[in-house]
Amino acid sequence: MASVIVGVAALLLLGFTFLRRRSPAVLRRIEAFERLNRAVGLAVEEGTRLHISLGRGNLFTSRGGSALAGLALVRRLAERTSLSDHPPIVTSGDASLSLLSQDTLQAGYKAAGAEEQYRLSAGRLTGLTPFAYAAGTIPVAHDEGVSANVALGDFGSESALLAEAADRENAHLIAASDNVSAQSVFYASAQDPLIGEELFASGAYAGAGASHEASLQAQDVLRWLVILAILAGAALKLLGVSF
């Protein structure tokens, strides 16, 4: 069963990527991403900083997916803000993720032709436990001239402390998590929370390319297949068919 799901998802991804290279997709309006685009522009103009928190998603677990989605956004934002006086800072609570964030930032600067502007300290490990991560990340939001915070990845309830820090500095917070607890915290405390799989749409909305748009389309198709499977399963159960 797993091989069928992976196979169908792979075929859809490759097929839609091929199609999207010919005609770019029209994406529905999501307020949070529009604000993010405005915040990026403002940060560059005003000489303030973007702060991107990638959470604690360990790449060796299923939580790594949200971290990888966050890295795709980091890459795009690094390209767009590389010429700013105050380049973005990426914080994470997992060591492998922090190394990848440094690599991704460097790649973004390189793509923008500004590799000499890259500093290793732009990608930071701020703590290895949930509260250590929060305690290490809060000073970045407070002390480093941050005008917009993006929290995208695996967080727990400690995300409320990050949201509070952003609020105290009157900085925007665009937040999404794959964790249900963090989702409810962000819904209550962030100006622009993203719900559920919208987290994985960040790359497509940041202009990361055809494959990210294709991913969204493949997700839509798979979601309908899951809905049909659930309805069919419920109907069969009602009819007394065991499976």
């Binding site: 091989s3 799901i5 992976v6 998802a9 792979a10 991804l13 990527t17 360990n58 790449l59 060796f60 997916g65 949200s66 990888l68 989605a69 890295l71 795709a72 890459r75 060591a95 492998s96 922090s98 190394l99 690599d103 991704t104 460097q106 790649a107 390189k110 290793l120 300290s121 930071r124 490990l125 701020t126 290895l128 436990t129 509260f131 929060a134 000073p139 407070h142 002390d143 309830s157 400690e158 409320a160 402390l161 949201a163 509070e164 794959d178 989702q183 915290v185 819904y187 209550a188 405390s189 559920g196 799989e197 987290l199 994985f200 494959s211 991913s215 997700q219 798979l222 979601r223 899951v226």
Partner: protein
Amino acid sequence: MRYITAAIAMASGFIILLGYIYPLAALTQLRVMLTDWAVTIGGMAVLVGIVGMVFTHMDKIRKREKNSSYGALLVVSMIVTIVFGAALGTDSSFMKLAVEAVIVPVEASLMAILAVTLVYASIRLLRRRADVMTIIFLVVAILFLIAVMPTPIGPIPGDFLLLQFLNMFSNGGARGILLGVALGTLLTGLRVLFGIDRPYGGN
């Protein structure tokens, strides 16, 4: 170089995925070996990350940035803990004291602040976004708290039914969100597996 890193990542990913889907002895062995290597590299990444953190704080101290004294405290505490931990071992009374008298109380106090922060965020929620979904969110949260809170008169009549009713919607919503997240994770993983997204090797 970047092609080599991509080839290694893709090959490792495919082997691990195949080993998971088809648990043949050879594939499983290869999968376990690759996972062991990844764990070792992950351990080294922790050391590199900690060294990076120390350098970042030392840089702040050198430039006399705002609140750099906290950075100095962190660096000194880290060095003391590492030195004593290496010299005395992790089971020593000093290490137990460091955990029980410093780390646990600090995390507990952050937990306490978290509770206050969440209440404050809920109060401000209506000011920030006064729409139907916000009202439903707050009403459900309050009803849930009423149903689970201890009272001097014992359980509130009908609290079990209220919890059942609320759980029906919250479980459904949570499952919907998790299904969406699972599909997103699958597609993100496939993009990395096919080498479309390469957050490594300077790509």
